[in-house]
């Protein structure tokens, strides 16, 4: 039998994809934001527990996002900049996931997250056309959907809510919140919305601040038509705090028998020198393109998806 050699996407979708890439690059050019290319292969990678990097035979990693390299550029004096290119995540394959995908990531010096959200909204409107965008805090979002208060209610109550909604695994609090969050996304009727102020434990590389007596992460996500499109932070600039978060990730990885990821000493050194205050966001560009062309899977806008490479 002849193997399937034809592309995953219809040719017209790839042509539309090209048009969108032009528009996106023009968007940044108009705003004076510099396009940069950083390595796809690095000797370090993210320590985050829920992001698995593809490890190469020589011990290097395919990058899961250009974040570390871009921050090193910013610390070296690069003004606001963006990268548009492939990133890789081990094991992420499904209707809306491909292990290799296109990430559009940019950093804005001096921006707070509210200013960056406005810019994200404009970029999305450029690709998908205008539409209202609502905003919910993470807490409100779960309260609306499950009448569950993630800041006040106990682990036991959280388990109860997760169980009633079809999730029986006995997980850590944060994992159960992820479950509720991903379910709430599919249920929310708004076509576009931001979720802000995530629990401090899922801050990743976002700054944490106090709000109504609670610690929350200055982080947002944009959801469009039930799909997670963007994830942005007011970037953590404190090297001591970054170091301790990496220690925490490593301890968790050890506890869960995961592969050990060394801390990126060059990133830490860059932060020692000084990362200027900035906000940054990563957009899953393939998904955005898929929405623009009316595709029903990410594969329909990829030239060759994972099953055909």
């Amino acid at each position: 039998m002849t193997p399937r050699w034809q592309p995953s996407a219809p040719i017209e979708n790839l042509q539309q994809r090209s048009e969108i890439l032009w528009k996106v690059r023009e968007f940044f050019r108009h705003r004076g934001i510099c396009e940069v290319h950083t390595p796809v292969v690095g000797s370090n990678t993210v320590t985050d527990l829920n992001i698995e990097s593809v490890r190469l035979a020589n011990g290097n990693f395919l990058q899961t996002s250009p974040e570390y390299f871009l921050k090193r550029l910013l610390a070296a004096g690069m003004p606001s900049c963006y990268q548009l290119g492939p990133v890789f995540r081990e094991g992420e394959a499904g209707r809306w996931h491909n292990p290799e995908f296109t990430m559009l990531e940019w950093y804005r010096l001096g921006f707070n997250t509210s200013e960056l959200r406005q810019e994200v909204k404009e970029l999305v409107e450029l690709v998908l056309g205008p539409s209202d965008v609502s905003e919910y805090t993470f807490r409100e979002f779960l309260l609306n959907e499950f009448q569950f208060d993630c800041l006040e209610q106990s682990d036991e109550e959280l388990h109860q809510v997760a169980q009633t909604n079809g999730y029986k695994a006995n997980d850590r609090r944060l994992d159960l919140l992820d479950f509720l969050y991903s379910l709430a996304i599919t249920r929310c009727k708004d076509s576009r919305f931001f979720v802000l102020d995530f629990p401090a434990e899922s801050s990743a590389l976002a700054q944490v601040f106090e709000h109504d007596g609670y610690q929350v992460a200055d982080r947002f996500e944009l959801i469009v038509e039930g799909l997670e499109i963007a994830n942005g932070y007011n970037e953590l600039c404190d090297p001591v705090e970054l170091n301790s978060r990496m220690d925490r990730d490593q301890a968790l990885r050890r506890q869960l028998n995961r592969f050990r990821i060394e801390k990126d000493k060059r990133l830490l050194a860059a932060l020692e020198t000084g990362l200027p205050q900035c906000s940054g966001v990563a957009v899953g560009l393939d998904r955005l393109i898929a929405l623009a062309v009316g595709a029903e899977t990410i594969q329909q806008i990829l030239s060759f998806a994972n099953d055909l490479i």
Partner: protein
Amino acid sequence: MATYSTNEFRPGLKVLLEGDPCVLLEAEFVKPGKGQAFTRAKFKNLVTGRVWERTLRSGETMEAADVSEYEMEYLYNDGYQWHFMRTDESFEQFAADEKIVGDAKQWITEQDRCQVTLWNNAPISVSPPNFVNLEVKETDAGVRGDTAQGGSKPAVLTTGATVRVPLFIEEGDVLKVDTRTGQYVGRSKET
């Protein structure tokens, strides 16, 4: 005991969910960018027919259910149980009670070929043939000439099932019925 991990999930897989045999209808990989990966799945309970939605942690495993489906000939009803025999010349017979035969009982007549699902070698469900031919036992006398308006009336068949039929159908007619919808298809030519 065989198990399946979520990354082996594909539609049609038979697994045990809360002790009941289920068939996997669909599964989707879900992962928040910064969160853990999940598999969102729909299962059909093969005993009750109910559809269950469940989310599993990616990599979690489920026990395989020993479920198989055979074509069997319906032999007879002894008043308590319905008896079936495999059509593959093994002549193996199985008995199913009313709860298991369920809706199928209002459609099947002896010698009909049914799909019987076995779990641990015991029947758990019976599907009638998609189309059956059954005689009308009772229906009101036809009011002719009114078919243009698409009028219909109930007719009771020999098996006890009631279907809606056009007005011209009379007692003794043999009808072809779609058992999946319970709808009248036409008059049978095999009378």
